[in-house]
Symmetry: C2
Subunit: 212 residues, 2 copies
DNA sequence: CAGATATACAAACGATCGGTCGTTAATATA
DNA sequence: TATATTAACGACCGATCGTTTGTATATCTG
């Protein structure tokens, strides 16, 4: 199959639509997002969507896929440039904070909005979003395990336990910074994980100082 | 003003409607909740709502108020029976976990759903919900301060910092237990706070063992 | 009892929802 | 060049959204 002009054009607009959908969904969720408003935001027509997706749910599923790719490129990939172990773990946390504070998405975090929206709503979107969370936590857990094996974290550490803590302390920054604390939420979210890791790390000099 | 039959009847149905509204909103949010479905769930008519509230937003604001009262009675009040200090602090955390695991609300937590929904949606509901979060964090912070003054927490503790951690680690249980972990989320959320408090507490015997 | 007031409703409003249909213009294949 | 195929559209569908209107009924006041 050659990349002919038709399909290329379709692909471009498809991607532009998904980009907008992820952006809008970070604010109002994937259900709160209506096809009418998405059409307005992308400068296209509602009915045009059905040339690309069978129904709204298929568009939602593709939007999740797009958000996963975006998250992988903007958060996971940069963290992988840090040396494995506790430094990579904290780099992952800081990459997440940067993603939030840079305002990549107007709503802060696509997954926070969508997971809160779908955690009680059975269906394909919930399953896909659940898998995304599963994969994300699995990734953190593997970094923890690797750090333990490298002797950079105490052997008593339970990887699933620490993964939960790191994710929870990072995720709630979105809510607190927007609804309560403003910038202070970033300080709290960063320090919480930093303190926790330093306390578990035999060589804390691998990590930044607690109050730089 | 005597409690005449009219107002009493009105009050009863008003409360029944709010109870249902909070329950439904814990699942689908305060916007996701439609007046039509709320009418069906309460066995009343849509138009009857406008005898009690001017518009949907007023109903939403009252629902937040109702949820605050429910939270205060079910979580805050029981914790206040524990002796002040670190024990009360952990009792507060455990009361919250019980609120979630008992399934008081079908969606787990009204505030989690609604705050995630409104953190990017300016308006009266957002402001009210923001104040609720503010009050809640202020309450936790005061318990931390009190524990420090009682010598039950290290003097180096930053109350706002620790309040953020306790709230974040407790709140995300809702999402993780429903979308990922199931019961394990409760274990992680409980242990995270317990370990943190024990590490900061000069007399850890005030708190439960880490692995009971 | 008469009159005012409050609860609750059915019916209907315009707007918007997700989705269908039929068409047009452009591109690819033969 | 003739024929499919595709992206994209305007018009429209039934359903549902929040809300208004008018009304019937029950309760309190005078």
């Amino acid at each position: 199959m050659t990349t002919d002009g038709r399909r290329l054009r379709g692909l471009r607009s498809r991607e532009a639509i998904l980009e907008q959908a992820v952006s809008l969904a970070s604010v109002e969720g994937l259900n709160g997002l209506s096809l009418g408003r998405l059409a307005t935001a992308t400068g296209t027509s509602k009915s045009g969507f059905f040339s690309h997706w069978q129904d709204k749910e298929e568009l939602q599923l593709d939007a999740v896929e797009w958000a996963v790719r975006q998250w992988t490129e903007a958060v996971v990939a940069p963290a992988l440039e840090a040396p494995a172990g506790v430094r990579r773990l904290f780099a992952l946390h800081e990459a997440r904070l940067r993603f939030y504070s840079d305002g990549v998405l107007p709503g802060g975090c696509f997954f926070f909005s969508v997971q809160a929206e779908f955690d009680d709503r059975p269906g394909a979107v919930r399953d896909r979003v659940s898998r995304a969370l599963h994969d994300w936590l699995g990734f953190i857990r593997r970094q923890v395990t690797e750090a333990v094996e490298l002797g950079e974290l105490a052997g008593s550490v339970d990887p699933a336990q620490l993964a939960y803590e790191i994710d929870a302390l990072g995720e709630m920054i979105v809510l607190h910074s927007r609804l309560h604390d403003g910038p202070a939420a970033f300080v709290h979210g960063r320090r919480a994980v930093l303190q926790r890791l330093r306390a578990l790390c035999p060589d804390p000099s691998l990590l930044p100082e607690d109050r730089p």
